[in-house]
């Protein structure tokens, strides 16, 4: 059951990711991205990270992507035309892509040599309580630093977006 669900949503995530690049209309691309986010949330859920899955849906699937869609709708961006490819991309594109994928796979396999079978649902450290405890004890300093960083980003955004006052 878990394996079937994993396969379904992994395929959906990959198809949506391809669709995101292939679509010419920005709204279609944005919606494909939402599809990727939602499938990833389901994969997190399968691994037992329920809090992260829901946060993924609320923050990325909801807030961030709504802003994307909102801006696309507001600017009324139309379809893009596919440009003619440069000679370099035509000749070397496919081999370079294969080389990149191969290298990436090799590095990942090297970095994670101890490949064990994933047991869906066996991990129980993904509850909100566990994450809260981890954030406020083990990872307190990074958490606070990130909070300050986000605060700086918000203030910076407000300053930049502010109209020039005489």
């Amino acid at each position: 059951m878990d394996t079937i669900l994993f396969l379904i949503f992994a395929v959906v995530a990959v198809v949506c990711a391809f669709n995101l690049v292939l679509q010419t209309h920005p709204i279609s691309s944005a919606l494909s991205l939402i599809g990727v986010m939602a499938s990833l949330a389901v994969l997190y859920l399968l691994l037992g990270a329920e809090f992260v899955a829901m946060a993924q849906m609320i923050v990325y699937g909801g807030a961030v992507m709504v802003l994307f869609v909102f801006v696309i709708m507001l600017l009324n961006a139309g379809s893009e035309k596919a440009s003619t490819k440069a000679w370099f991309a035509q000749v070397a594109g496919l081999p370079l892509l294969l080389a990149f994928v191969g290298l990436l796979g090799f590095l990942i396999a090297r970095a994670l040599p101890d490949t064990r079978r994933v047991n869906f649902g066996s991990w129980v450290g993904g509850t909100a309580q566990e994450i809260g405890r981890a954030l406020f004890t083990t990872y307190l300093l990074p958490f606070e630093i990130i909070s300050v960083l986000i605060l700086i980003a918000i203030i910076g955004a407000v300053v930049l977006a502010q109209k020039e006052i005489e």
Partner: protein, 403 residues
């Protein structure tokens, strides 16, 4: 296997009741609005217009399903589907009562008890914006686009105070699952003040409740915040180009969202299925209430205002008498599991019904906001107030709750 069968039965029951409720919310809304405005409302189809929802459904189904040539077809067809399916999903995590034991099968009165139930509801609400936004954009129509933009801006803005208002009762309950939140509100102070979140020490959540309800009006695009479908400015807003069943699904989604958000409000702030009074007395509230309603119906039937009322009001009176009898049986507790279910359902439905009535009441009494007022209100008043409430709650919980 047993789990699947029980869950399937629960899904069928909840779905049937939910869909009927959605159909009849339209009738309730029209009736209440009519009486607020000194009219009678639907009266012709069935006794007191009770068959009106059926007639409406039949009308909507049999109307021509237009597909305008200038729309973006894929998203135009996808939008009502997103709206309605997400709106119908939320009810699956709502608990209606405690654990019951029916012929040896112990089960919750809830389809799924998620440990992150409230986050699930927020996630569904966050994604629900796309239905409205896409409908407005794909219709390829200025009014629709304006409606869709307004809807998404409004829903993003009001999600903040809504979420902050939700966090405060969560601090009191210390849990994210609806069942645990509701259970934490059982019991009474001094034997008679219920421990609902709006009364709960150390910091009663009455302000959070008010903020939540105001934001809920905006989230469900209801008057006084129904800017996305303001008739005098935008024709019908984001669903201008929709007809037949696609139009109906937007309406269904709106009513489903109202039911969902009132259920969440009930569970977070009004103690879910926990009664207002301690158990032995509260069991008799339902039969007495139904008896009073029956008496009122008989009295209205005797007053003889309209010709049909002589027949219909006594009929309603009889129906209320039957209800009173059922809940009397529940109060005496002849069959334990049945009385558990009936009493829990009565209190839950009473609270949800009251909140839905408030929704209609507000619609009947308040005018629409202007758009800049709406945004100004959200960001400069509601958001800071919700934040202050959250800080105070956190402070009081930290000071007075043993860890």
């Amino acid at each position: 296997m047993n789990f699947f069968v029980v869950t399937l039965i629960k899904i069928v029951i909840v779905f049937a009741v939910f869909m009927t409720t959605l159909a009849y919310l339209q009738w309730i809304e029209r009736k209440v609005l009519a009486h607020i405005q000194s009219r009678t409302g639907p009266l012709r189809v069935g006794p007191h217009g009770l068959m009106q929802p059926l007639a409406d459904v039949f009308k909507l189904l049999s109307k021509e399903d237009l597909l305008p040539p200038y729309v973006n077809r894929f998203f135009y067809l996808l939008a009502p589907f997103i709206a309605v399916s997400l709106a119908l999903t939320t009810i699956s995590v709502i608990p209606f009562g405690p654990e019951v034991d029916i012929f040896g099968v112990r089960t919750y009165m809830q389809i799924a008890d998620l440990r992150v139930g409230i986050l699930f509801v927020l996630a569904i609400a966050a994604v629900g914006v796309y239905g409205v936004a896409l409908a407005g954009w794909s219709s390829n129509n200025k009014y629709s686009l304006m409606g869709g933009l307004r809807a998404s801006a409004q829903m993003i803005s009001y999600e903040l105070p809504l979420t902050l208002a939700i966090v405060s009762p969560l601090l009191l309950a210390n849990e994210l699952s609806f069942r645990a939140i509701s259970n934490s509100q059982g019991g009474y102070y001094l034997g008679f003040i219920p421990r609902w979140s709006i009364f709960q020490m150390p910091f009663p959540q009455i302000f959070a409740f008010i903020i939540f309800m105001i934001a809920a009006f905006a989230e469900t695009n209801r008057i006084p915040f129904d800017l996305p479908e303001a008739e005098n400015e935008l024709v019908a807003g984001f669903h201008t180009e929709y007809s037949s069943m696609k139009f109906a699904s937007f309406f269904m989604a709106e009513y489903a969202n109202i039911v969902n958000i009132t259920c969440v409000a009930t569970l977070l702030f009004l103690g879910g299925w926990h009664p207002l009074f301690p158990a032995p007395y509260s069991n008799w509230v339902a039969p007495i209430l139904f008896l009073v309603a029956a008496g009122a119906c008989f009295a209205a039937g005797a007053r003889n205002v309209r010709r049909n009322d002589r027949r219909t009001f006594p009929f309603f009176g009889l129906a209320f008498l039957v209800l009173a009898l059922i809940w009397t049986v529940a109060a005496i507790a002849i069959i334990p599991w049945l009385s558990t279910i009936l009493l829990a359902v009565f209190w839950f439905v009473a609270k949800v019904g009251f909140l839905i009535f408030v929704f209609v009441w507000v619609r009947g009494t308040l005018p629409r906001f202007r758009y800049d007022q709406l945004m100004h209100f959200a960001w400069t008043f509601l958001f800071p107030v919700a934040l202050i409430n959250l800080l105070l709650t956190a402070l009081f919980v930290a000071l007075f709750t043993r860890s």
